[in-house]
Amino acid sequence: MIHFLANPARFMRIGARVLPWCWAVAALGMGAGLWFALVSSPADYQQGDSVRIMYIHVPSAWMALAVYSLIALVSAMALVWKHPLGYLIGRAAAPLGTGFTVICLVTGALWGQTSWGTWWVWDARLTSVLILFFLYLGYMALASAFDDPDRGNRAAALLAIVGFVNIPIIKFSVDWWSTLHQPASVLRSGGPAIHPSMLTPLVLMAVGFAAYFLALLVLRVRAEIAGRKVAALMMASAMGGAGSNPARRERI
């Protein structure tokens, strides 16, 4: 299976076929999720209507972590099996993952405002998502910090794996730290009891987000491939010219 998808052209053909389905599932999932979240589900007995923020906050947190795990996975595949496509999928997924992380942080802050009256709640899970946000920034900054895109891809792939290994350690230490400094907060104790009627909008929204992400991922990977070809053609035209650019330490 892994090798099957490794050929970029085949990946793009499959991507093109899957794309319309993704858009459909995304629209349906988010639409139904939204309708359930806002219209049909009851307000929480304790928090009232503010709990509706959870229908965006929790799925985006799931997506933020899921996308980072995907980046770590494709990076490992790229480094181990030398599939250049893995780097491109990772590079394409990172901005989308960052987007979900931002949604999670903003909605978390707003939710914190309703229950604690402060704009930023140093709650364990929200703080972990904040650190995940920095891991995303580090990945993207490293990926584009080199003149040679290949060099950036490989370095960022390694960082994604190192970051992924550190996530449980960070999560554990932040949780331990938050028990030290803060009484139990509504957000921390597993959040409000997930009433079945609340589960459906959550799941619908999560499926919607995931499909939306996949659709955009396919488009972004196509853009990355086109970008790589532009670079290769530019280099090819330079190949006729004089030797390598001295400013760039390159072994030609």
Binding site: G243, R251, I252
Partner: protein, 231 residues
């Protein structure tokens, strides 16, 4: 010049088969193969940017080849590599530098190491510079210390990238003598060079003959990613 891909060579040969090299999404050369027996010197020639340094890096194991394989002489896995940079620390003296690299890259037992260092000091006339920190040396002197390090590692295979740059007349002669001595003692060397090398029985490898465009490999557009023409 060995064109055809060598069959299973003798154990102590350097064999390169079907080497392809892609740099920055661009195919430099492909299908490059040669074999080098003990006592042989292979000169890599070609204009700047053709891929001489890249091939040396692949042979030294510093960079992976996009395709093909390299078999190093298995007798002693040790090789001596000399790149563009001299790899010298400004604050370390010449003796400290040679002693250090002889331990890290050189032979196992101390006796062989001392002998190799003495030979290096003598071949490149490093005696007067021995106590000087490398930071005070001129470019030519630094190159001689770097060449001294190659001798001090007493490795069977030398991989050298334009070794004679910055050397004056005496330095160049010292290098030729060292190379001749190394080869006579059954050593091997692959040298990327622009000028001639005064060693008899030298073979030459024209990398340009294996260049991507010349080798008729598909448009670099596809090699950048191994992508079929258009999705």
């Amino acid at each position: 010049m060995t064109d055809q891909q060598p069959a299973m060579g003798r154990v102590d040969q350097l064999i390169a088969r079907d080497i392809a090299c892609v740099r920055g999404g661009r195919l430099l050369f492909a299908g490059l193969g040669f074999s080098l027996a003990p006592g042989g010197v292979m000169a890599l020639t070609g204009p700047n940017g053709i891929g001489k340094s890249s091939l040396l890096a692949i042979l030294a194991g510093l960079a992976p080849a996009a395709a093909g394989s390299v078999e190093l002489p298995t007798e002693t896995g040790r090789i001596a590599y000399l790149g563009h940079g001299d790899g010298l620390k400004p604050l370390a003296t010449v003796t400290e530098t040679l002693a250090f690299w002889a331990v890290v890259n050189g032979p196992g037992n101390a006796q062989a190491r001392r002998q190799a260092i003495d030979e290096a000091m003598e071949t490149f006339a490093l005696g007067p510079l021995a106590a000087l920190p490398c930071g005070y040396l001129s470019a030519g002197q630094r190159r001689r210390v770097a060449l001294g390090r190659v001798v001090a590692t007493a490795a069977k295979l030398w991989l050298m990238d334009e070794p004679a740059t910055a050397l004056d007349g005496a330095g160049a002669r010292a290098f030729d003598d060292a190379l001749a001595g190394h080869v006579a003692a059954g050593g091997m060397a692959v040298v990327a060079t622009h000028g001639p090398i005064a060693v008899d029985g030298i073979e030459t490898l024209e990398i340009a003959r294996f260049a991507g465009a010349a080798a008729g490999i598909a448009d670099p557009d596809t090699w950048g990613l191994g992508v079929d023409q258009d999705p």
